[in-house]
């Protein structure tokens, strides 16, 4: 199954298997990558430094080339070679229900939670909200700076689900990541603008993360107009609707994370499969 082609590729247990980890020699690859993790965001990729990327992308022709190179690298399907590049590191937004299914049925043991490095590097805060599986957990065992100090580190499936629920209710976006393709080892709870995976997509239009298989829909008869969801949506997809004092969803902006449902006291918001809406089918 191909990522971004729809069809919930992340529910295929093969992507979590030891077989893939061994085939691509991921123990060595990921150890090298995570040893040097805090320098990867500032490293040059194909001779281009990410500093001031927004300005570089505005240069005619060159900007478009940079964008294409970055997208090709992120969505690479080839065997990963260079641990200093985000090769094949692409993700998709997942709502709570799918994340629970992943943790229940797919995720390889051992399961751990580690400090979110995006948030540490761009906000200076250590918060344990990344859930890792399989080979990744073994690697983090050897790198103490990722291990949360106060919270529990090794989690059972049930604890991981509870932890994820807690983050999701707080308003963090659930995301699942290939790292690198075709191995899945990360279930993150992301926030904008800190997340280094969502930022390229929202701020620079680089497809570093795909939208979920779902899209939020509103039952306007139930909406009380409290505007809680407007504040909760990290993608700016829900806007106040002055005509009826309620809200409206801008469908092409919605990533389908489902976080808005948690703040709605009247159950006016729900998720619909993306495929069922003809205009949004296949638009990830």
């Amino acid at each position: 199954m191909k990522h971004g082609a729809g069809g919930k590729w992340y529910l295929n247990a093969r992507h979590y298997s030891e077989e893939i980890a061994a085939k691509y020699n991921l123990r060595e690859f990921l150890l090298e990558q995570y040893k040097n993790f805090e320098q990867i965001p500032v490293r040059r990729v194909a001779g281009v430094s990410p500093a001031g990327l927004g300005y570089k992308l505005r240069i005619p022709i060159i900007g478009r080339l940079i964008k294409r190179t970055a997208e090709r690298l992120l969505a690479s399907n080839r065997a990963p070679k260079n641990p200093f590049r985000p090769e094949g590191h692409i993700g998709q937004v997942v709502p709570l229900e799918d994340a629970i299914a992943i943790l229940e049925h797919c995720a390889a043991e051992p399961i751990i939670q580690k400090n979110c490095m995006c948030r540490y590097m761009s906000r200076g805060e250590k918060e344990a909200c990344c859930i890792n599986f399989g080979v990744m957990s073994e690697i983090i065992d050897r790198l103490p700076r990722f291990i949360p100090e106060k919270e529990k580190y090794h989690l059972s499936r049930r604890e991981a689900i509870d932890r994820f629920k807690e983050h999701n209710r707080k308003g963090y976006i659930g995301t699942i990541w290939f790292g690198p393709f075709p191995y899945i080892n990360n279930l993150c709870s992301c926030a904008t603008p800190e997340c280094a995976g969502i930022r390229p997509r929202l701020d620079f239009g680089i497809h570093s993360i795909y939208k979920a298989e779902y899209v939020a829909v509103l039952d306007s008869r139930c909406c009380s107009g409290c505007m809680e969801c407007v504040a909760a949506c990290q993608f700016g997809a829900i806007q106040p609707e002055p005509r009826d004092g309620g809200v409206r969803i801008i469908p092409y902006r919605c990533f389908g994370c489902g976080v808005c449902r948690h703040v709605c006291s009247t159950q006016a918001l729900s998720l619909l499969p993306r495929d069922e809406i003809p205009a949004l089918r296949g638009s990830y």
Binding site: K35, N36, E38, Q39, P41, V42, R43, P50, A51, G52, L53, G54, Y55, R58, I59, P60, Y120, M121, S122, R123, G124, E125, R145, P193, E194, R199, D203
Partner: protein, 86 residues
């Protein structure tokens, strides 16, 4: 490139933050910046044994194009190391 668009230039004087002071001990600019323009990172060529060496960490204004010029970072920096212009 200045001809194509107006650019915000953010400079950090590394002699004031980075060389003498460990940027990880302060991190004030990171927390005050609404669009999270700054990135705390490890400098290159550092072996794992030196990860906690204060000399090897830097704060870089990685996404100046997202800066909204509120200048809160300039106010927040206790060493006066940040300059914003443009």
């Amino acid at each position: 490139m200045g001809l194509i668009c107006r650019r915000t230039k953010i400079r950090i004087d590394y002699s004031l933050c980075g060389d003498s002071v460990d940027p990880r001990s302060c991190r004030r600019c990171l927390s005050v910046c609404a669009p999270a323009v700054f990135q705390l990172h490890q400098s290159f060529g550092v072996e794992e044994a030196n990860v906690f060496d204060p000399q090897s960490w830097r704060i870089t204004p990685l996404w100046p194009s997202l800066c909204n010029r509120c200048l809160k970072c300039v106010e927040a920096c206790p060493n006066g190391a940040i300059h914003v212009s443009g």
